[in-house]
């Protein structure tokens, strides 16, 4: 895994660099930022949706399901004390020619895809302060 670095731009807006790619994160105005990009928690949703879309599209491509593309809509449900995501709700739109049997199979497979599986099993978070 390549190194991800997060450096401050201004206020609560940070630049995220990874392998030459640059992303921006910021908090909403209500949370003290300027909404200059998705919030860190929203990136968790981005990762979930993108993971699912990628893996499901690869499945469909491999089996020749080509009548339409995969798309994902999702949202996060949040709770307080502490602020956290209580659920990630994802709707996956499949190519029209995916048979019912494969739809059921994909639903089961989806929970084993890297991001959903990581979230389900709760990875160790190891932090040092310098």
């Amino acid at each position: 895994m390549d190194l991800i670095t997060v450096t401050r731009e201004e206020g609560l807006r940070f630049s995220v660099q990874l392998r030459g790619h640059v992303m921006t994160t910021d908090m909403s105005v209500a949370e003290g930022g300027k909404d200059g990009g998705p919030s860190p928690v929203e990136y968790l949703g981005v990762a979930s949706g993108a993971c699912l879309a990628t893996m499901v599209q690869a499945y469909c491509d491999a089996r020749g399901f080509v009548d339409g593309d995969v798309s994902v809509s999702l949202t996060l449900e949040l709770v307080e004390n502490p602020n956290r995501v209580s659920s990630i709700v994802l709707d996956v739109e499949l190519p029209r020619d995916v048979p019912e049997g494969d739809r059921e199979k994909l639903k089961k497979m989806a929970l084993r895809m890297p991001v959903p599986a990581t979230l389900r099993d709760g990875p160790k978070v190891d932090i040092e302060m310098f």
Binding site: S28, A30, E31, S39, V41, E42, S73, L74, T75, L76, E77, L78, V79, E80, N83, R84, S86, S87, V89, L90, D91
Partner: protein, 105 residues
């Protein structure tokens, strides 16, 4: 907290525009709350969503989970956001007169 006119009556709202007393809610209040969310008119589908939220809240004293809302109304997430662009929690719940949802991102 502040008082504003919604549905032809004075209603107390919080800093995000959520009404404080669910009992003052009626359809006229909902129509004015919808305008604050950029929804100028409420279609049958809007009312289906709003009434489901309202009924659920009155029965359980809490908002339903989003997946339950989708399943019970038959609306996909995309449709829910098409109806209420600010989302089920900040948009639809506000219009339905429910308390402000918890959590932040």
């Amino acid at each position: 907290m502040s008082m504003v006119e919604l549905g032809g009556k004075q209603v107390e709202i919080d800093e995000d525009g959520f009404i404080q007393d669910p009992d003052v809610w009626d359809e006229a209040v909902a129509l004015d709350l919808a305008k604050t969310e950029g929804v100028d008119a409420l279609s049958d589908d809007h009312w289906k969503l709003v009434n489901y939220l309202r009924d659920y809240y009155l029965e359980y004293n809490m908002a339903p989970m989003i997946r339950k809302l989708c399943k019970q109304t038959g609306f996909s997430l995309k449709v829910v956001y098409d109806l209420f662009p600010s989302g089920p929690a900040k948009g639809a719940c506000k219009v339905a007169g429910l308390p402000k949802p918890t959590g932040c991102v």
